[in-house]
């Protein structure tokens, strides 16, 4: 099998973030919230504090590790919600057409017209800040591209002979959508979903940065960046490391998305006998 650099690099980057998030309590040196010690405020990175400390003297290394949990949860769960909504609406609209298609199209266009971050901000302002509201806000605002993609794929796939054959064989509509259409559009959907996951990580950071996401003192990369604004010239490591974490995660997800597209191409999947 051909060596796929983007898949491997993306996979390694994303996997290391996932591992860091899962094993954060064991990998972290200190408690990310409670171990504030003003004696060690704004220490530069070094032997004891690998990534340095912030203005309250908390270990940034530990906080970045714990931040991975929040960022990944938000990224994965909200993107899953988006993908499910987008695929359900887009696939059924493309397959059935008619008034349902018009409704879904109208809704999609509306969603595309509203900047999703602003929409998420509005939802967050209504709900109480917190992880659940963040998941809802980001999970309901970014499905329009997936929906478009699923609809376009369904439109082009439904005239394929095998979909007709499935109808002739007596398959029901839902079964045709799930067994004939969905597997054949999964490639681009997974790619969009993975890329969107990176977007969701960024959106979480942005919302937290604006103070509407995860509230301090809980460590989220966005809120850490927000806290570090004032020290960006005097203690740049406070913002560099959470920023780097976001960068690595999003880069990993994007490369992974690209690599998955190559793998999911059916022509590439030849049975090796």
């Amino acid at each position: 099998m051909k060596f796929r650099a983007n898949l491997v690099i993306g996979g390694v980057l994303f996997a290391s973030v996932v591992i860091a998030g899962i094993f954060a309590p064991w990998l972290a040196h200190t408690d990310p919230v409670m171990d504030a010690n003003l004696m060690y405020a704004e220490e530069a990175p070094g032997g004891e504090f690998w990534f340095g400390t912030d203005a309250q003297g908390r270990d940034i290394y530990s906080r970045v590790l714990h931040g991975a949990r929040i960022s990944l949860t938000v990224g994965i769960v909200s993107q899953l919600i988006n993908t499910v909504i987008g695929v359900c609406l887009g696939l059924s609209a493309g397959y059935w057409g008619g008034w349902w298609d018009d409704c879904v199209n109208g809704l999609t266009n509306m969603m595309l017209a509203i900047p999703s971050l602003i929409f998420a901000l509005a939802i967050m302002a209504i709900l109480n800040p917190g992880l659940t509201s963040l998941l809802i806000a980001l999970g309901l605002t970014n499905w329009s591209f997936t929906c478009r993609l699923a609809r376009a794929s369904a439109l082009s796939l439904k005239s394929q002979g095998y979909v007709q054959a499935a109808k002739v064989l007596g398959y029901g509509d839902i079964r045709i959508m799930l067994t004939q259409l969905l597997p054949n559009m999964l490639g681009p959907i997974i790619v969009i979903g993975t890329l969107g996951m990176g977007g969701a990580v960024l959106a979480e950071a942005a919302l937290s940065f604006l103070g509407l996401g995860i509230r301090p003192p809980y460590p989220s990369w966005g809120s850490m960046l927000s806290d570090a604004r004032d020290q960006i010239t005097t203690a740049p490591w406070i913002s560099i490391f959470p920023g780097l974490a976001i960068f690595v995660t999003v880069l990993g997800l994007n490369l992974l998305g690209d690599g998955l597209r190559d793998i999911l191409d059916p022509q590439a999947r030849t049975r090796r006998a």
Binding site: Y162, Q164, L169, Q180, P183
Partner: protein, 346 residues
């Protein structure tokens, strides 16, 4: 059509009618209606009567756009008829009268393009197994047995079951398509240009396979084609369609040796023949706009035999001019009389 079955090839006892189509019409609504006044309809199929006997192969020929594919889709239930009746194996299936599954066990279809008619993400096994499961056959041993048997019948090896469609050639893919159509043991198979997408060298193999399967499994075929060579080889009876109507129908011998409708004659003369320059008049021009059908006989603008009588509405009736030979042409008898070919029947 009350006539007896074509006597040329049949050697089985009087066969039952397995499919009967009566006055079937499919009209597609077009835009307009809101401001454009009267809503317009495209008459894709316009009053077709058909009968298919057990064990028979009916060739359905005509140009692109004559409605033959729409007719097939309507018989299979993929298209709602505007009017008319379809009786499949003694049961009426007007509109939603029979559910998809019951219909699937009677009538199946083999598609034209073997490249788009197989799901690229399903192995051959899944393609054949899923319909069986859907229709209530769940015992693993029975599924296994039927898949192996079907693969054998269409000339594939059992180990082909684990492969994906892209690993097969066009001819093999069409064999898989045939296996899928036959896995539910239907009685009628509609063949939509089954060999036209294949290499010439493969065509004969697939045609022979289809003929062999028809014999061994007692199938009835409706074969849609514009390749008259294939139709001549396979069909017991032939129906020629033009602008949504059947213009001539009869046993394959009478159609090919004594065609009466000028359109049929033109089609037959268009078969490439290496020994003769031409077997008759070619027709010119395009099929008329189905939205603006010529009055009287729909074929009159292109017909070399058209006279004034042909332009008078209504549409000519399908008249019996020979044994199980029907023609929709007012001048059929005159044309036959002036024909050099021995035209004794009629």
């Amino acid at each position: 059509m009350e006539a007896s079955y074509g006597a040329t090839i049949m050697n089985s006892p009087p066969a039952d009618t397995i499919l009967k189509v009566e006055d079937l019409a499919v009209h597609f609504p077009l835009g307009g209606g809101l401001f454009g006044g009267r809503r317009r309809y495209l008459h894709a199929v316009d009053g077709v009567d058909l009968e298919l006997k057990q064990g028979e192969c009916l060739g359905l020929v005509g140009e692109s756009g004559c409605g033959k594919s729409t007719l097939a889709l309507t018989i299979l239930g993929l298209q709602e008829p505007t009017r008319g009746r379809i009786i499949l194996d003694g049961q009426e299936v007007a509109g939603k009268g029979m559910d998809r599954k019951a219909r699937a066990r009677i009538a199946q279809m083999v598609f034209q393009d073997p490249y788009s008619s197989l799901n690229p993400r399903q192995t051959v096994r899944t393609t054949l197994e899923a319909p069986l499961r859907l229709h209530g056959i769940t015992a693993p041993s029975e599924i296994e047995g039927r898949i192996a048997e079907m693969l054998g019948r269409v000339g594939l090896r059992p180990d082909h079951a684990e492969r994906y469609p892209h690993e097969f050639s066009g001819g093999q893919r069409q064999r898989i398509g045939i296996a899928r159509a036959l896995i539910l043991e239907p009685k009628i198979v509609i063949l939509d240009e089954p060999v036209s997408a294949l290499d010439v060298s493969i065509r004969a193999q697939i045609i022979n396979l289809l003929l062999e399967l028809k014999e061994t499994l007692g199938l009835s075929y409706i074969m849609i084609s514009h390749d008259l060579g294939v139709v001549e080889h396979m069909s017991d009876r032939v129906a020629v369609m033009y602008l949504g109507r059947i213009v001539e129908t009869g046993g394959w011998e009478s159609i090919f040796t004594k065609p009466r409708h000028p359109y049929t004659r033109a089609l037959i003369s268009a078969i490439p023949d290496p020994f003769e320059r031409s077997r008759g008049d070619k027709i010119m021009g395009e099929i008329p706009n189905p939205l603006d059908v010529p009055s009287g006989c729909g074929f009159n603008p292109r017909c070399p035999e058209a006279r004034d009588i042909c332009r008078i509405p209504p549409v000519p009736d399908l008249e019996e001019i020979g044994e199980v030979h029907f023609v929709r042409c007012r001048r059929a008898r005159e044309i036959a009389a002036g024909d050099a070919a021995p035209a004794s029947t009629g």
